[in-house]
């Protein structure tokens, strides 16, 4: 009964939910159940210049439940971000991913955290999939210190380098050559890992994509270009932007695969296949046929260039979370109630994360000038001299080790008063040495100057690093009273 209802609602295939192994009578605790399950994808893969992988995907109940949970979290997170934006807690840009969750989740299932992912600005869910936390997402969106980029990046600039997530890029198409560069570095370092460079149908016409793809193919880089085709490049439908909307074929000599991007298992299969292929044969293109429910960004209602019927149609028939829910129910891996409970938990987690993020403070004002360089060579603070008396200017990262290079000299940060300080020191030295142009002050005064100079020198020395040749002290202008 359940099966017939499900198969009638599936418009793409009648085979979607037919289990090939029968696990109806076994009802073990789901979260740890790893009995293999084989499920067919909604549609077969369409391939270009290569053999398509099999439609039958190996999975486990544990995996399916985790898909459900993670996708529910992502969906909830994006909807919450929508509300936060409307409440003006999120500023600037906010590009939401709801509807496309299966791509992020399926990809994670097919690869490891040692593989790299790079994407464009619709990156909240990709970041979460790579191991980011809800707190980091919401804090970053609201520009707080606990954000993944400490509030300095914003919605479009999430990064998590330790688990291979390289952002988060605002310029359409730029992430593709960057992704090929990551793949280059992986090959150079002999890591046996791959890079997935995600882009949209809007970016698929960018010249730099083809430049990078050419080089990737020439040099056999383990790069997989993934076109998340949600059929609209901002407000422009794909048929208005691309002469050939078969994005998986656009690589010409580069093999491609077209995948149902709303089916997490199909995405998983495709990514696994692509990884194996790329490690042996070089780059590949995956086209994920997916859909976004929201507009391009929060300033776009999303209904001026497409009908509401279209949006709700996709939501009813192809929603990725619903698909997994039906799969789980069909295979009796969990009850309806358990799934609802999971959704409730997820909702609570998201709400808690938002509450915690709201309490997170804004970044310190001094953070304005940090991280411009890794190795600071005098970022000039435009602010005037700090405090009174002897003060040290704030330093940038003062790295002790830079690969053990000798002969490396660096200077601590100085303020705009630094030259005055040098003059000050020069002057006091000259006075101390009785070589001032006017013949010099009497001996007792010069002794005082000398003592003063030595006091300065001692202060400098006590803070000096062996590698520093010149430490400059910032002085308030009022204290430079010595005149020649």
């Amino acid at each position: 009964m359940a099966l017939s209802k499900l198969s009638s609602s599936s418009s793409l295939s009648t085979n979607i939910l037919k289990p090939l192994t029968n696990s109806f009578f076994l009802h073990r605790p789901i979260s740890t159940d790893t009995t293999p399950l084989t499920i067919e994808t909604s549609v077969p893969f369409t391939s270009h210049q290569c053999e398509a992988p099999s439609r039958s995907v190996e999975t486990t109940p544990k995996e399916l439940l985790s898909f459900f949970r993670q996708m529910a979290t992502m969906r909830r997170m994006e909807i919450a971000a929508d509300s936060l934006y409307k409440a003006k807690l999120v500023r600037g840009f906010c590009h939401l991913y709801d509807g496309q969750e299966a791509v992020a989740i399926g990809m994670e299932a097919g690869i490891t955290k040692k593989d790299s992912i790079i994407t464009a600005y619709r990156d909240h869910c990709t970041f979460l999939g790579r191991g980011g936390t809800l707190l980091e997402v919401f804090s970053e969106l609201m520009g707080r210190k606990d954000g993944c980029s400490h509030g300095k990046g914003g919605s479009m600039h999430f990064y998590k380098k330790d688990s291979g997530f390289y952002g988060g890029h605002g310029i359409v198409g730029a992430q593709i050559p960057l992704g090929c560069g990551l793949a280059f570095a992986q090959k150079y370092s002999k890591d046996e890992t791959v890079t997935f460079a995600l882009y949209g149908d809007g970016a698929a016409n960018q010249g730099q994509l083809f430049e990078a793809l050419n080089i990737a193919a020439l040099w056999d880089l383990p790069a997989i270009l993934v076109c998340e085709n949600n059929h609209y490049g901002m407000g422009t439908a794909e048929w208005r932007a691309a002469k050939s909307p078969s994005y998986y074929k656009r690589g010409d000599y580069v093999p491609g695969l077209k995948v149902d991007g709303m089916d997490a298992l199909a995405v998983k299969q495709a990514c696994k296949f692509a990884k194996e292929h790329a490690l042996k044969n070089g780059p590949m293109i995956l086209e994920m046929d997916t859909y976004r429910y929201h507009g391009h960004s929060m300033s776009d209602p999303g209904s001026t260039y497409r009908t509401r019927d279209e949006i709700s149609g996709v939501r009813q028939e192809r929603d990725p979370i619903e698909r997994i829910r039906k799969l789980i129910l069909a295979h009796d891996l969990a009850t309806e109630k358990e799934l609802k409970d999971i959704e409730k938990e997820v909702r609570k987690e998201v709400d808690d994360a938002i509450a915690k993020a709201k309490e997170s403070p804004m970044p310190e004002p001094s953070e304005l000038f940090t991280n411009v360089y890794v190795k600071g060579y005098g970022v000039e603070t435009a602010a005037s001299a700090v405090g009174c008396g002897w003060t040290w200017s704030e330093k940038l990262n003062n790295r002790k080790s830079d690969g053990g290079m000798t002969g490396d000299v660096c200077y601590r940060i100085y303020t705009i008063d630094s030259y005055k300080a040098v003059r000050y020191l020069q002057t006091s030295w000259q006075l101390a040495m009785c070589s001032a142009p006017n013949g010099g002050p009497p001996l007792f005064l010069s002794l005082i100057f000398r003592l003063f100079y030595c006091h300065v020198a001692q202060l400098i020395k006590s803070h000096a690093d062996k590698r520093h040749r010149l430490i400059v002290v910032s002085l308030p202008a009022s204290q430079a009273t010595f005149k020649l």
């Binding site: 952002g167 988060g168 090929c180 991280n371 030259y419």
Partner: protein, 391 residues
């Protein structure tokens, strides 16, 4: 006796005379005077000045080649990529012999796709490698400028320190000879306006070696602006410069010639012209101080301002277009910080505010010449010389 006390205290403070000499704190009196106690130690002090004794001549091209070679051999993460850098031995022979020595995995010939290969270089730097991306000239870097600025310069800041980009973009910059408008643009001011980048421009072989090595070792994106016409010029280099650990500090200008009447700032090829101008000025009784900027970003404002406070007059010279140029920035910096020390308006010499013409006579007029610098210095010193014609 006073002197001994002072020297004692100084050395106890941990500074050697050599260090103080380098800081310019110990003034060198030109005229020998027996009265001052300082004069007695002068022979000792002056010996410390010439610690480099060898006088080997090295072309800038060789300097760059040796710097690349040494850095590639020291760190296996360094690799070179660009058009014709491998089998062609480099469009200007800068990377001669490197393909043979390091193989095609580390010296990569790219297709003529700047946006693509620059992005690939930046992506490799994200991962942790240390690419050196060569542009055949910086004019072509405009094809890839989005990657230099948005993908490289800003990443460390946007990611709050997670993603650093230890990349070097190098190549010839500015005017060559007779190459026309599209191949003669100077990009110093363009890149130097971007926070997150470091912009270096060497003049001599010592600069080329030291700055390129520093750039490759630096964990930040560096734009390294060379000059095609300097590649074939030879400069004397000391043994210290030839040492494989030689490195120059980024953000520090060099005073090529000390003077007391007028400060001339310049970078790259113009330093040579400024030095010639200083010779001519010296014959006419004007002692010019020539500053080789070396580093356009971060600009060594303290050296420039200290020099202006000494001489009270400033002439900035550059090859690029005048509006919003390096000279404009130096002028603003000096006016902000040393206004009361200026005895004359700042003179700004730049390339003519026109796209570079081809005809030899027009091209000569479009690029600063020695006479222009001399004239500007004289104007700054209020010797009556008519202004050059403005466009």
């Amino acid at each position: 006796m006073v002197l001994l006390l002072a020297v004692n205290m100084v050395t106890r403070a941990g500074f050697s005379l050599k260090q103080l000499k380098m800081w310019g704190i110990i003034r060198q009196k030109v005229a020998a005077g027996g009265g001052s106690p300082v004069a007695r130690i002068r022979p000792v002090v002056s010996n410390l000045r010439n610690y480099s004794s060898a006088v080997k001549q090295m072309m800038v091209r060789e300097a760059l080649n040796s710097a690349l070679d040494e850095e590639m051999s020291a760190d296996p993460k360094v690799f070179l990529m660009g058009e014709e850098v491998g089998e062609y031995q480099g469009a200007y022979k800068i990377s001669k012999g490197l393909l043979e020595k390091y193989g095609p995995e580390r010296v990569l010939d790219t297709p003529i796709t700047e946006a693509g290969f620059t992005g690939i270089g930046v992506g490799a730097a994200y991962y942790g490698l240390k690419p050196v991306v060569e542009f055949m000239t910086f004019n072509f870097s405009m094809q890839a400028i989005d990657h230099i600025i948005n993908s490289a310069a800003k990443s460390n800041y946007m990611s709050s320190g997670q993603i650093s980009v230890p990349i070097v973009f190098r190549g010839p910059n500015g005017a060559a000879a007779g190459v026309g408008a599209q191949h003669s643009h100077c990009y110093a001011a363009w890149y130097a306006s971007v926070p997150g980048l470091k912009v270096l421009s060497p003049y001599s072989s010592e600069d080329a070696r030291g700055l390129l090595k520093a750039a490759i070792r630096d964990p930040d994106p560096v734009v390294f602006l060379e000059n095609e016409l300097l590649y074939g010029e030879s400069f004397p280099v000391s043994a210290e410069v030839l040492d494989s650990s030689f490195c120059l500090p980024i953000g520090k200008a060099k005073i090529e010639r000390e003077g007391k009447d007028v400060t001339i700032t310049a970078f790259s090829k113009i330093v040579g012209l400024s030095l010639k101008a200083a010779e001519i000025l010296a014959k006419e009784g004007i002692s010019a101080e020539v500053i080789n900027l070396r580093s356009i970003r971060p600009l060594d404002r303290s050296t420039i301002n200290a020099s202006v406070r000494k001489t009270n007059r400033l002439v900035t010279v550059e090859e690029g277009f005048p509006q919003h140029g390096v000279g404009a920035e130096i002028c603003a910096s000096v006016i902000e910080e040393s206004f009361s020390y200026l005895d004359a308006p700042v003179e700004r010499i730049a390339g003519a505010d026109v796209p570079m013409p081809y005809a030899a006579n027009l091209e000569r007029m479009a690029v600063p010449q020695v006479e222009d610098i001399v004239r500007a210095a004289k104007r700054a010193c209020y010797r009556s010389v008519p202004m050059a014609a403005a466009a």
